[in-house]
Symmetry: C2
């Protein structure tokens, strides 16, 4: 046993030789350290540096080599060539497109494994980076770019490699999920956002999160993993949560629905659709019970029915922890390179059930008029709630599935009805599709 231990710890970083995890506890720190270059030193970068130091011994025991920050590059400190030169692995936490793209490419070309949490970059220039990594035989790991601490990238790349994925539904932004949870308890959007900012869950400028843009980039990456199709941010139709009223959440609750910002990546025959929008979920949906600053992803595939994974999503420490996991993986485990792209057409005409809310005059025949317009557009009504408020009434209803374009057409016509007092509000409803 002791000969074997020495051997595996010596050979620990040879390509393809998996460093017997847990091997070489005694001699780990004696080996050459593993030099880690860190690009960027913001919230996540500093949390990563701290985590790396505090867990260095444990990682050394696992990898056979003690990780050491060999260089840090910020706008005001360090030069990229120096930092690159001394590194075994490069961790990119600058964010944004440039210079992150250029640095990662140069690191890959220099034969270094790279780890990044940069969703925008992967979404816009992923193919260039994946190709380079494949060509140079290095690992490009990005678990931290999607899903907080949930290992969704690995599960899609490895566990589900042989499965035919039909659909992914995800709550991939913890900030918006926190805000919606607060609103479900009666807070207004502004109050909920303020609370998120006070708790450090939302940034001072929350627009990337609340507009759905952050979620859109993450869903594009999941679509690439699940379907092999590169999807750029501008191809993802996204809608945020800024325009939601707490009323929407409260009425919907009466219909047994909960409101989440849901990303969807799905296969529709030989096309795919990737989109992000607020959606109502039936109480039985696996994502319906996910509240607070959490992320959760449900993957549907005929062979497995579905897997749901959830965990804390927002925060520098969680991201740093996912980055560290990637670093350990890059050093100990050979990776599956990203397979070459298989472009599929993007569908824009998707079907969905809808929740519809409209204020009307409280007179006989109003429900019939509204239902008539819906019927003319092929929308059949699944449930309806009518409630008087003074001389107004509120109609809240849920339709069966229909093409979104037809529903939008119907709501435009409903808005023009004489007896209608407010523009109808329509929000998609997601059921457990696999049942």
């Amino acid at each position: 046993m002791s000969a074997e231990r020495a051997l595996s710890s010596e050979a620990s970083l040879a390509p393809g030789v998996v460093a017997g995890a847990g091997a070489g506890h005694a001699t780990a720190t004696a080996a050459e350290p593993c030099h880690v270059a860190l690009l960027g030193f913001g919230t996540v970068g500093s949390a990563f540096a701290e985590l790396l130091e505090s867990r260095a011994e444990e990682i050394a025991a696992l990898c056979g080599r003690r990780p050491e920050l060999s260089g840090v590059l910020t706008r005001s400190r360090g030069s990229f060539p120096d930092v690159l030169d001394s590194a075994d692995v490069v961790v990119e936490l600058i964010g944004g497109i440039e210079p992150a793209r250029e640095y990662l490419l140069r690191a890959i070309e220099a034969g270094k494994h790279v780890v990044t949490a940069n969703k925008q970059l992967l979404c816009e220039h992923g193919e260039q980076l994946f190709d380079a990594a494949r060509r140079h035989g290095v690992q490009l790991r990005f678990e931290a770019a999607v899903g907080g601490v949930i290992p969704v990238v690995r599960v899609l790349q490895e566990s589900l490699a042989g499965a035919h994925v039909d659909r992914i539904h995800g709550i991939v932004n913890g900030t918006t999920n926190f805000i919606l949870s607060e609103m479900a308890s009666g807070a207004s959007y502004a109050e909920a956002l303020g609370e998120a900012q006070r708790q450090g869950i939302a940034e001072a400028d929350p627009s990337e999160d609340v507009s759905g843009k952050d979620s859109a980039a993450k869903m594009a990456i999941l679509a690439r993993l699940a379907f092999g199709t590169p999807v750029s941010l501008r191809e993802v139709r996204y809608e945020g949560i800024e325009h939601l009223h707490s009323d929407d959440l409260l009425y919907a609750r009466e219909l047994g629905l909960g409101l989440k910002l849901i990303g969807t990546a799905e296969r529709l025959d030989d096309r795919i659709s990737v989109r992000v929008h607020p959606a109502f979920l039936y109480a039985g949906h696996p994502l319906a019970s996910v509240s607070g600053p959490f992320n959760a992803v449900t993957v549907e595939s005929p062979a497995i029915t579905e897997i749901t994974m959830s965990g804390p999503g927002a925060g520098g420490v969680q991201t740093a922890s996912a980055v560290l996991g990637d670093l350990v993986s890059a050093v100990t485990q050979p990776a599956v390179p990203m397979p070459p792209a298989r472009p599929l057409e993007l569908a824009s005409d998707v079907e969905s059930a809808f929740y519809l809310h409209v204020e009307v005059a409280d007179r006989p025949g109003v429900l019939a008029a509204v239902a008539g317009v819906l019927g003319d557009h092929g929308a059949s009504i699944r449930s309806v709630l009518q409630r008087g408020i003074g001389d107004h009434a509120r109609l809240a209803m849920v339709t069966h599935k229909l093409a979104e374009a037809r529903l939008r057409e119907a709501t435009r016509m409903i808005a023009e009805l004489d007896l209608v007092r407010s523009s109808p509000r329509a929000i998609p409803v997601i059921e457990e599709e696999f049942k």
Copy 2:
């Protein structure tokens, strides 16, 4: 066995050379097929054979080699040496200890990758198999042994390789979770079991499942993965669901609790505890909302807080699908070998909060007497419900955390109180410990 075949299969499966997933789509089926030997042809075995055939083309596109059943061994069909000789990968779905152990060892010694779903065997003879696989440089994959379709083995072995896992809570038996879900809706244990049998979710002889033994073996395997400590079945304290009353579920609901059969593997300083028993979960616990024949596992670690994974658990098709995933992984990805064992002492004295139910005479002073005994044993009461029924009253209470031994001592003393009409029933309560 043919040295030539072994060699050529070595080449395409060479460690570190990932058989370019997705590479060679065009030539995939032209390459030498991947020969799969199947040991056992019961429910899971036959589902696996069917799945393998129906997905052969997709797997070929992914692995570069078309998988083909090269031999099947059953009690009445095939000879092991012949089946072994023609195989590149051996899939063991016989179950039980012998001859499964002997066959797997011989396959490993012959340099074949092996895939198994055999939890009993891994629990009792895991170290022998892990050592052999490490020595012979072959993969031993067993995702299907624990957690249904949830990739919990891979997540623990790879994604969380660098994390310090504190605790795992799991619903790792879909059959009992289905039965408890039915009981929560008012069915008796016998009715719920009957329904599970009618639906094919429970076997004719359900004792492995309902006794907690199946869950115990799975928790032992998770403990090995999380803590490195080999745990045999007889070291796991387990308790099943046969003695539960639907009353327990109904009263508990009034206290805001749900009842599940929970496996726990946790670190207690430098010792570990592995156990399985019915437990009440607060509504906010990530496992509380898992109902029906599902599996779910929550992994707690300081760095990640927690990850929860859930998916369908019972059924031959799900197991077969997890086995197929392992087969694809074995052919395309080098595996992390199981690190050598790091034995930790097993703790028997664990602490928990408890739900306690006792029928008493409806007289003044009864609650004080019961609470007095609990107080004397260090059990402080967190919530209590008292309800009169004729000249009896039911006391249902939840305590704060205390050592289980002390609680058991207290319940023995309560049973002897004059005014007590039934033996107290005590069930552990699990909270979200990381908060």
